[in-house]
Symmetry: C2
Subunit: 103 residues, 2 copies
DNA sequence: ACGATAGGCAAGCAACGACTTGCCTATCAA
DNA sequence: TTGATAGGCAAGTCGTTGCTTGCCTATCGT
């Protein structure tokens, strides 16, 4: 019975965009940021001049991939990084006997 | 001094396509396959009915990302999997103190 | 209640990516 | 040498995607 990697689809597509990877970098540094915080820090620290909606759509992609969880609190929405989906996606192609594969 | 992940760009884009991931699956199972072999096995084992050129272009993407190495021998061109670029791309977002991250 | 702040929805656009088609080159076997 | 096999190159199509723009809802402070 072959292994099915169906759930990995969204994760790989989410990771394909450099802006989304920068967002994950931001959340790795500090969890629980709001949309406006992420926008500001992407501008100041990475030089990305993107609209609020662009970031919002990226966050939606990351969330539907399971890489980001969000919790609403009043008018704020805080975003947390979730690395769980990353765990299975690389070991998929690692051969047990090959050298130099020390994750 | 911030870390630069420039070389990861091609790797993530290469992994974003499901067909390319199937190709990596094939090469994980058996190294040194030719283009026609990969075509045949994608059809029979994964039900993918793609043209030879489609697979060829996918292999070019994988090769320029460093995930596949190729060696020419007569009229054959053999393809080998190279997992080295995969080593740094996931640990990027893993926090050392978080639970459940046992790669 | 009112304005300001935080965020969402939807249509439109421009660029990219996957795939096909057609034709060409190179190597091997007879 | 001729035909068959393995692969490469380039243009064209078509769906996807990243981003913008405009407008709307919800919550908070005063």
């Amino acid at each position: 019975m072959p292994i099915v990697w169906g759930m990995a689809e969204d994760v790989f597509k989410a990771l394909a965009d450099p802006t989304r990877r920068h967002i994950l970098d931001e959340l790795t540094e500090r969890d629980g940021q709001t949309l406006f915080e992420i926008c500001a820090r992407l501008v100041t620290k990475h030089g990305l001049a993107l609209s609020r909606q662009a970031i919002s759509q990226h966050l939606a992609v990351l969330e539907s991939a399971g890489l980001v969880h969000s919790r609403r609190q009043g008018r704020y929405k805080f975003h947390d990084l979730n690395t769980e989906p990353l765990e299975c996606i690389v070991t998929r192609w690692l051969r047990p006997d090959a050298p130099g594969e020390h994750l």
